[in-house]
């Protein structure tokens, strides 16, 4: 039987080009597939270059200034040597703390309402939509709001104004993740509580919220991570200060307050090397804080028990 290689001259496969079934680079569709895969891989790597560059620069330029003095001393004047940003770290924690105290009750309680509202509830869907739109709300506008509401009415820049600005930015994250977390509580637990004669307040307070706690904390931590890195809303609400929040035994609650993010912004544009170096070191500390909050938040929800 004189069969040409590759094609079959008898049987059910007669005339079928079997070589054609093999994967070959000469076929356009294979080639196009490989080229497109290559482009996609290249784009992914390209997207990661900035990330590695940022991390590398932070480690290089910020890492070598890292010391205890950095965390305990006050920011240096233009030509001074050394110095640190202890007051900015305290300020960041304080302002974010105020924002958290404001946003946690409002966010979680509204989420408890949203999660239990019926599908047709107009108010609930309007609030939910507003929350979604608010996640994309420009942070500078939160600052403008706090400036108008707090700074203008109290007549001074203060950590309180900064806290109000960050509260607006944290609220949608806390609310929307809390709603998801409360919704994820199995209906049978809620029904069991109601069946035992619990009122809806008791059900929410003693069954839904404790069960959803890991998810609630995740949302709070993610919101904290976002708020800690925000600069724009603090620029003209908390402003900046070269002094400690607590000095000579009294709290400077109604005075401008330092924060890490604003310190980075102020010092980045300075012509003095020492201050620029401090900006990099502050950036490193800020990124580490933000990442720690982020990782903690995600770890909390990963450890959550599924019912």
């Amino acid at each position: 039987m004189a069969a040409t290689p590759g094609s079959v001259s008898s049987g059910p496969f007669e005339g079928v080009d079997l070589d054609g079934l093999e994967r070959s680079l000469r076929r356009p569709r294979t080639l196009v597939g490989i080229i497109l895969s290559g482009i996609v891989t290249a784009m992914t790597l390209l997207a990661l270059i900035p990330l590695f560059s940022v991390v590398f620069m932070l480690a290089c330029r910020g890492g070598h200034r890292l010391s205890l003095a950095l965390l305990t001393e006050l920011p240096p004047a233009p030509l001074e040597v050394g110095g640190g940003f202890g007051n900015a770290i305290v300020g960041t924690f304080f302002i974010v703390g105020i924002a958290t105290l404001l946003s946690v009750p409002v966010g979680i309680l509204s989420a408890a309402y949203l999660a239990q509202a019926s599908e047709e509830n107009r108010l609930a869907s309007a609030v939910r939509f507003a929350g979604k739109v608010l996640t994309g709300f420009p942070s500078i506008l939160a600052g403008v709001f706090a400036y108008g509401a707090v700074v203008l009415s109290t007549g001074t820049f203060s950590p309180l104004a900064g806290g109000v600005a960050l509260f607006i930015l944290m609220l949608p994250t806390v609310m929307l993740t809390a709603e998801d977390a409360i919704r994820a509580v199995p209906a049978k637990m809620k029904e069991a509580a109601i069946g035992m004669g619990a009122t809806s307040a008791q059900t929410t307070w003693m069954v839904l919220l404790p069960t959803a706690l890991p998810g609630l904390l995740t949302g709070v931590m993610l919101a904290v991570a976002r708020a800690a890195g925000e600069t724009a809303p603090l620029l003209f609400t908390a402003l900046f200060s070269n002094y400690w929040l607590v000095s000579h035994g009294q709290w400077n609650l109604m005075k401008p307050t330092a924060s890490l993010a604003v310190l980075i912004y102020n010092f980045a544009g300075m012509p003095f090397d020492n201050q620029v170096e401090l900006a990099w070191a502050a950036a490193l500390v800020l990124v580490l804080l933000v990442l720690a909050a982020n990782v903690a938040g995600r770890a909390l929800s990963r450890g959550q028990v599924r019912y």
């Binding site: 420009p138 500078i140 980075i264």
Partner: protein
């Protein structure tokens, strides 16, 4: 009723067999012996395609054929090759057939979406993109100031020197300017687009993907012809939302765009944005400037609200549409 099923299946289900009359006129039962007897007379051609129709021999079972297994011609990993050899030695035995089928079923079941990356790579990339999103914008500004501007400045100034007659390259890059701001801003909204597009692509029902593979489409024909069009709405919604983010982005722009209240066609000249204007002017604003800046904030609010609501509506409709296809 008499049916025709595979021998291994009939054996495993304890089905009763019918005796069949073969070419030699003998009635034979289906056993591995009679099967081997049927194949004994067959000859394999070069292309290995052989049909054993109505075999000779007294003990030959009349309906017997070969099974093909597709393998690669070469294996780079010797351990893999040895394991495969072992597997097929085992599979030749009767008991091996059942084990092999089990393994194959497991292997297929573990990979439902053929076009997915391995889990570890996917997880790592996802976390890296999360990381990109978690970095505060003031840090991006710092990075842009000390990394991006020095890196692109020689190329920009060369372009200005050689092609300065083009309005786009009409000035040189002295420091902060439009192009560095554009580059950093695009890096900053990348995670938003990636995250929403990933969700949209994953929301495409896997039966569509499977159907495309079943029709013989390659991986990329499936992606371009089926998956992307189905996910297009969601991806577009993500792009709109990212555009909204970029509109309101402040710090990186305040540090990189140059804060010059002018409009120039040149990519390298300093300029200003609404958000950057607010950030730079508000801290020192006097009573006359505050109302003006508030008005600028109102314009910015209107713009971002329109874009964000549009994006949120698009995403809502997109997820409703893919739910329908599921």
């Amino acid at each position: 009723m008499i049916g025709y099923v595979e021998y291994g299946y009939a054996k495993s289900q304890n089905l009763p067999f019918a005796l069949l009359e073969n070419k030699a006129g003998a009635f034979v039962a289906a056993t591995s012996m009679s099967g081997q007897a049927a194949l004994a007379g067959a000859q394999l051609p070069d292309n290995l395609i052989a049909w054993v129709s109505d075999p000779e021999g007294k003990d030959a079972y009349p309906i017997v054929t070969y099974t093909w297994v597709m393998l690669y011609k070469k294996y780079g990993d010797k351990r893999k090759l040895d394991t495969l050899k072992e597997l097929f030695t085992l599979a030749e035995g009767f008991l091996g057939q059942a084990v092999y089928r089990q393994l194959r079923a497991l292997g297929l079941e573990r990979r439902p979406g053929l076009a997915r990356l391995p889990d570890l790579v996917e997880e790592t990339l996802k976390n890296l993109i999360h990381l990109l999103a978690a970095i505060p914008s003031v840090v991006y500004g710092l990075w842009g100031l000390f990394v991006v501007i020095p890196v692109i400045r020689p190329a920009c100034n060369w372009l200005h020197l050689k092609m300065g007659w083009l309005p786009l390259f009409g000035t040189d890059l002295a420091g902060p300017g439009v192009l560095p701001a554009v580059i950093v801003l695009s890096i900053m909204i990348l995670p938003t687009i990636t995250a929403i597009a990933t969700d949209a692509l994953l929301a495409v029902p896997s039966k569509l993907r499977m159907a495309a593979y079943g029709l013989g489409a390659t991986r990329w024909e499936t992606i371009i012809g089926v998956i992307l069009p189905t996910a297009a709405r969601g991806i577009f919604g993500g792009v709109v939302l990212a555009f909204g983010r970029a509109l309101g982005e402040t710090m990186a722009l305040a540090m990189l765009v140059g804060n010059a209240n002018q409009i120039n066609v040149s990519l390298f000249s300093p300029a200003n944005t609404l958000a950057a204007l607010l950030a730079n002017s508000f801290p020192e604003a006097g009573p006359k400037q505050v109302p003006v800046l508030m008005y600028a904030a109102l314009v910015l609010l209107a713009m971002t609200l329109v874009v964000n609501i549009l994006g949120a509506l698009l995403l809502q409709r997109a997820s409703a549409a893919t739910k329908g296809a599921r």
